[in-house]
């Protein structure tokens, strides 16, 4: 029996998508009535065509935890802060000139507060941090992304980039840098050819602590800051790192590494600084794993921190008491030991494995990832930070480091 009322287009359209949610009498009619069944056929065809036309989303690799950490951070700091581009944020955290590879953010306020800085007449700088050994600080992507920006606490000034300069020979590079670099006597399987040499320039930055900015950030986040140590406001911290020498195997002559970040595994190396609050950082296009060197060795003078007023223990105590710092990261930093002599090496969990080891009796941090196969070991020896890394397994890299 066909009902007299023909269903509307909307009802027929729903039959295509959700037939069981359409009343039986309507569905029965739509299939039994020649006119309505013809309409249903057209509507079904149009729906299929629309589904075909509408673009599907591109393949997505999402890290919802890292994204949530970003949103939480912005929520803590109050309404709309500068937009942070997620995909650029993570690599930037690792390779940003303001966050040299050997920093973890909280310590970033210690170490990043690095500096060149133009010495102001009448200001007395005292060296407060000159590490003699390395120590790893495991940090999750979420923790890394949740950390506050230095700009929440003061003013950071840094040189625009850390670009390597090609040198004709190892001797020339060593002479320019004032450090020596030992090359392996025998190359491991898969590493061929002669190395290219580069000079790592001296790089520095200055951070000026601002009590007003810190207070504003705390107010926006709805948290209370710990008491400010005497003399903190306006204190300047200056860090300098380098110069150094890098020897690189397995890159073509037209493929000079852009930066240390790119050289040692990050595919988002950065040439020059181009960061602003709303646009994020401009980064060169990724060149892919095939553009990475098969082996790279580096010797560089370690970061040195100078201050106009505060000491490292004061800084550490204050930073670890900040409510912004994830407790797990605070604990990890606290366990570093002497904050004056240990150079913290942030190790991003989830990207690979890391473990402490030794090279020539010195504490070292070994990092290894399986996919892609990348390993690196970093240690400090006789006043020089040394790194060996490449597209090699961990034991090979460690063997090269130990000579």
């Amino acid at each position: 029996m066909i009902t007299l009322l023909h269903p509307a287009d909307g009802q027929l359209r729903r039959i295509v998508d959700e037939p069981l949610l359409v009343p039986d009498r309507v569905r029965v009619h739509a299939h039994a009535c020649p006119r309505c069944s013809a309409r249903l056929l057209v509507i079904s065809h149009d729906a299929a065509e629309a589904g075909r036309l509408l673009p599907s989303a591109p393949a997505l690799e999402l890290d919802s935890k890292a994204a949530l950490a970003l949103v939480e951070r912005r929520l803590r700091l109050g309404a709309p802060g500068p937009r942070v581009t997620l995909r650029e944020r993570l690599p930037r955290s690792l390779t940003h000139p303001g966050r040299p590879a050997a920093t973890v953010s909280a310590i970033a306020l210690l170490v990043v507060a690095t500096g060149t800085g133009t010495a102001v007449a009448g200001v007395h700088w005292t060296q407060i941090f000159a590490p003699s050994q390395v120590a790893s600080v495991p940090v999750t992507p979420a923790e890394l992304l949740a950390l506050p920006h230095l700009s929440d606490f003061g003013q950071l000034t840094y040189a625009p980039g850390l670009t390597l300069t090609s040198e004709p020979s190892l001797a020339a590079a060593e002479a320019a840098a004032g450090v020596t670099l030992a090359l392996p006597s025998a190359l491991p399987q898969g590493v061929t050819g002669s190395p290219s040499y580069f000079l790592v320039p001296r790089w520095s930055s200055t951070f000026t602590f601002s009590a007003a900015r810190a207070q504003a950030a705390a107010l926006a986040a709805g948290v209370a800051l710990p008491p400010l140590p005497a003399g903190f406001d306006g204190t300047q911290l200056r860090e300098s790192v380098g110069p150094g020498v890098v020897a690189v195997y397995g890159i073509g002559s037209g493929s000079i590494p852009l930066s240390l970040g790119e050289l040692f595994g990050s595919q988002h190396g950065q040439r020059g600084g181009s960061c602003s609050g709303t646009s994020g950082c401009t980064t060169p296009r990724s060149r892919g794993i095939s553009a990475l060197p098969t082996l790279a060795l580096m010797a560089v003078l370690p970061p040195v921190l100078a201050s106009t007023g505060v000491t490292v223990p004061q800084l550490e105590h204050y930073l670890l008491s900040l409510p912004f710092l994830p407790p797990s990261l605070a604990t990890a930093i606290h366990q570093l030991g002497s904050p004056i002599t240990s150079l913290p090496i942030p190790v991003l969990t989830g990207l690979g494995q890391s473990r402490p080891t030794t090279v020539a009796g010195n504490k070292a941090v070994l990092f290894a990832a399986d996919s892609p196969l990348i390993s690196a070991v970093i240690w400090e020896q006789q006043g020089t930070v040394r790194v060996v890394g490449g597209l090699l397994d961990a034991s090979t890299v460690l063997g090269l480091a130990r000579g």
């Binding site: 629309a50 591109p58 999402l62 935890k65 970003l70």
Partner: protein, 179 residues
């Protein structure tokens, strides 16, 4: 979809309810925006803004949070697309899209037809575009109705009109490009 009530502390760090919602819906919200923008990073930016806005507007939650989030993502993405429409038109005239620094998949997907469809999405009424994105992101008629604050009985008719509008715009492009 989260069943827990959302946040209890305005402007506080996200509560477990918000975190659950974020975990459950983030990928879907990104996907809605990515269908329009085709660039994962741009879509993630949109999703970030949408979740922030949601938390600021509804610190205590919203009964139809998934629909609200996807609708907001669709509107933001379509707004961006409209802003880029002139660029798309220029690209249609001048040939292949310039190389993006986004990723090779983006380039592979940016075929002529897809560009035309995206351009058409940017030209049709925004409510039509948003409805298409909601429905084709997997929301049921009931969820679409809640998100758009319309009776569920109107969803089918509006969907039909939106699909017709999209096809008409795409056809118009075809005719224009072949003449």
């Amino acid at each position: 979809m989260s069943t827990k009530p959302l946040g209890t502390r305005p402007r506080a760090p996200a509560t477990s309810g918000f975190e659950d919602l974020f975990e459950a819906e983030y990928a879907s919200v990104v996907r809605v925006a990515a269908r329009v923008l085709m660039q994962p990073s741009a879509a993630e930016d949109v999703a970030q803004e949408v979740f922030l806005e949601f938390h600021q507007r509804y610190p205590h939650g919203h009964p139809s949070a998934p629909g609200w989030l996807r609708l907001a993502a669709a509107h933001r993405a379509l707004n961006q697309l409209r802003g880029e429409r002139r660029r798309f038109q220029r690209e249609l005239r001048t040939g292949p899209e310039r190389e993006s620094r986004e990723n090779p998949e983006t380039l592979a997907l940016a075929t002529e037809t897809r560009r035309e469809v995206r351009a058409a999405l940017g030209r049709i009424k925004r409510r039509h575009g948003a409805l298409l994105l909601l429905r084709y992101s997997g929301l049921s008629y009931g969820e679409v109705a809640t998100a758009l604050s319309i009776p569920v009985t109107q969803v089918g008719a509006r969907l039909r009109r939106a699909e017709a509008a999209l096809r008409k715009e795409v056809d118009r492009d075809h005719i224009a490009s072949s003449s």
